[in-house]
Subunit: 279 residues, 4 copies
């Protein structure tokens, strides 16, 4: 039904491992948890976040330097300065970095500063960008489009893979629906389906899916229970002061509690969560 050549499982146990760095990999027994703010705001903010996360089971850092915004007049991110902050903090705290690439012209700079390049929902079918990322030399975190079918999602990965880069991780982050109680509807059956269809690791972004802080933890738990290979979760030293997506960011303390609460569920489904991200 879904004609993927490179992303499709060749047998039921077929599972790819995508390495984020020498210590952290997606698709193995150990889940990968990525944390950090929506947007890189300044050095101090990222220092605070990274210092905290490096003492927890969170193994990677997120933060946007280039931000896709509905309005051209909204803050578009710190750009290269943001990348430099990410790189410095990453090195200091031994946390690999995932950050979004919105344009071919940004690939080189981002690939120089970050460990993994994220393709956002709005660009899931930006085929020009996908093809170029086939040559990026870094693993790709591909987010599902807001109204993308499972087939379209897998075939978007296929664009990257067929252009040379097999290190693709899929990320379910909610689809558009009719009830604005939540920001989007988290489609966890898609996670389970993707785990059956493809050999690629699949992670979940509960923060963007629900858009409400109080629903992030239960959705993170559900994601782990249904077989996700990891999570990407927004947290901020002062959530209410976040320049973007304030309503969905966890405090650093809430992040710590959430990660700890996931451990017994991971164990229950035969997975694990790192005791500490770094030695």
């Amino acid at each position: 039904m879904i004609n993927a050549k490179l992303a499709a499982k060749s047998h039921p146990q077929h599972q790819s491992i995508v390495k984020l760095n020498s210590q952290v990999a997606f698709g193995g027994k150990e889940l990968v948890i990525i944390g950090g703010p929506c947007t890189v705001e300044n050095r101090q903010q990222m220092e605070t976040v990274a210092a905290h996360l490096s003492t927890t089971s969170v193994q990677a850092l997120r933060g946007g330097a280039y931000k896709p915004r509905t309005s051209p007049y909204a803050f578009q991110g710190m750009g290269e300065t943001g990348l430099e902050i990410l790189a410095a903090v990453s090195k200091k705290y031994h946390l690999p970095v995932v950050t979004e690439v919105m344009a071919i012209s940004q690939i080189h700079a981002i690939a120089s500063h970050a460990d993994m390049l994220q393709v956002g929902s709005r660009n899931m079918q930006n085929f020009d960008l996908l093809k170029e990322l086939g040559q990026a030399g870094k693993p790709i975190l591909l987010k599902r489009g807001l109204a993308a079918t499972i087939e379209e999602f897998v075939m978007a990965a296929e664009y990257i893979m067929s252009h040379g880069n097999l290190d693709v991780v899929l990320c379910e982050r909610g689809i558009r629906s009719f009830d604005n109680y939540t920001r989007n509807v988290l489609d966890l059956a898609a996670v389970a389906a993707l785990k059956q269809i493809t050999h690629l690791p699949v992670i979940v972004d509960p923060s963007h899916a629900v858009g409400r802080r109080e629903l992030v933890a239960p959705m993170a738990k559900a994601a782990v229970a249904c077989g996700a290979d990891g999570l990407i979760i927004e947290c901020h030293p002062e959530p209410d002061k976040s320049v973007s997506d304030a309503a969905q960011a966890l405090s650093l303390q809430e992040m710590l509690e959430l990660v700890n609460s996931l451990k017994p569920i991971a164990t229950a489904v035969g997975r694990s969560i790192s005791e500490l991200a770094v030695a």
Copy 2:
């Protein structure tokens, strides 16, 4: 935001217990798992199912005697004969029964034969029926409408409650969306949201949500992890011969394996699953 008077939590720990019978109740530490076929087909089928389920942790039996069907020419269920089969099997195997009520005229007969009355998705805003169920004297399993908002769902419960029946259990069973890979999209964030908004027990129907056998187990696990108070799952002695919804029914063996696989997850979130439904 949601102006429920009777369904709303009065404090964060406010949680109702809805008794199915003297031994089984929704909303406590122990999850309630309901199993059975989509449709009551004959006595032998129900005997086989009930005999099997009575040896597992499944605590209640489902099966439709009156079936809502898109076409008036499709099989509409066995009706009162089906109710009698349900009642006989229930008594023999000590499994309380949940079955759907589609019309006010059926309430009396169903309430005489079953332990819990289910309102299906299509009737979630059949206000006339909801009001009458306020006087039914039996607990109600209220399924979310195919395109009902969380607010509309809670207020439908409020219709039943404000007419005299406080024993309402909510059931998330998937909402309509754009990708036909799955039958519907299971909205587990709604489950978490409902647990925060109301004191009513909330259960999940993964079978109707996904419509594909191979996705039922991961969604059942996710539901338990995010706080659901129970599950209602379709199983059949010969799934491929089921008169309705064949693609989503588990075999009896698959049902047993699923229920066992849920136990460690329930434990991980501080819940439990009955070791045996009956003594």
Copy 3:
């Protein structure tokens, strides 16, 4: 594909005529325009509306006596008193009346006072009600459910028809979608599709579809252009004081202007609009 036996066209020109009374019929060359408030509020309101509409091309009166409301605590309509007001005003101004039936127990009273019984969106698959309306002896206006497929909509009509009542008019009134700029999304392609699939008249309710006064007129025009057999439009003597759906009601003057603006479009597609509803 859609297995309707009674609602399906037997040949391309197959078109049913559904009579509202001896002078007004759906499905012929002449379009039927129904106007009136969302809710019957009092005698004076209905007198004002009917007196005005009777001098325009509007041929029938709408107004809810029994109102489906999300909350049980919201105003549920005037009930039988509302029906009596509708009947009195109908007789005085020679305008046939369409009003909603929500329950089997209301059928007799409504059929005694009104010329056509409306099934609302929430009840489109209330099969029990549909079957009973097969015996109501009055034409039925069947509104599409909020998330009903075209097939489900046609088969709901089939329920009424197969139980004895062939006088069914379909009404597209918008489906649920993701953008809350409009209340719903008016699916005019469904109107064109229904005109090709079934021989039943198909009308459009632009008011509930868009939920914004300023978009009602362009959608009414579009509906006429694509082949609708009529329109049902909300208007009120003082729209901003309407007890329900105030944002979408037209003033009586706007209603007059709209109806006049539709005439050249009707002519352009080979249809007509009554010059005056009554002699």
Copy 4:
């Protein structure tokens, strides 16, 4: 509510005129109809289409040289050879050309060969591309994303405009929904809303919206009736042999009949359709 600075109307009669060439413009009294195949397949095909359309009221030619496809293994279009065919045929038959741009690297070549650059649905929020099109020196046809809100659509235009190009035409082409009877749901209320919110011309693509040949004509009529400034419609010399979107393409004869049927509707709403595209 929608914070557009450049796209917003400054007064109710504010309406931009976007010129396609010296003879054809969007936003005036005269509607612009664009016709042609989904994909440029070869010179003969385009000659046949253009020769035919040049004798009708169709004023511009469409045809894809670069094709966005779900699968990387599907035909991706003829590329620059296709552009050359478009340019040659355009010159010979005096029909300006609209064709899709999928990548910044294609802008220069397309702008050299075509009169208008189309941004497809999948790229509506490819902000990098939008910004660059602000410098393209050609008018832009911006198609609505599959799940884009009206606000997001207007703000995507704002990206192009704020980067220097005010010549933007919006195109509604259907949104994703739950019923697969039609390919998408044509949201004509969005057309009416956009005409009220922005001064930009707004056209409609009924072909991609419905995905079924027999529904194109009624939706084209509805679009004209509700105020669209033009239409873009797929037609093909041999629709069933079209390399893409065969089910929705009209034959050249059907295209002629459709355009003629639109004229009285255009007149009815105070608009007109060119008697002949060229002298």
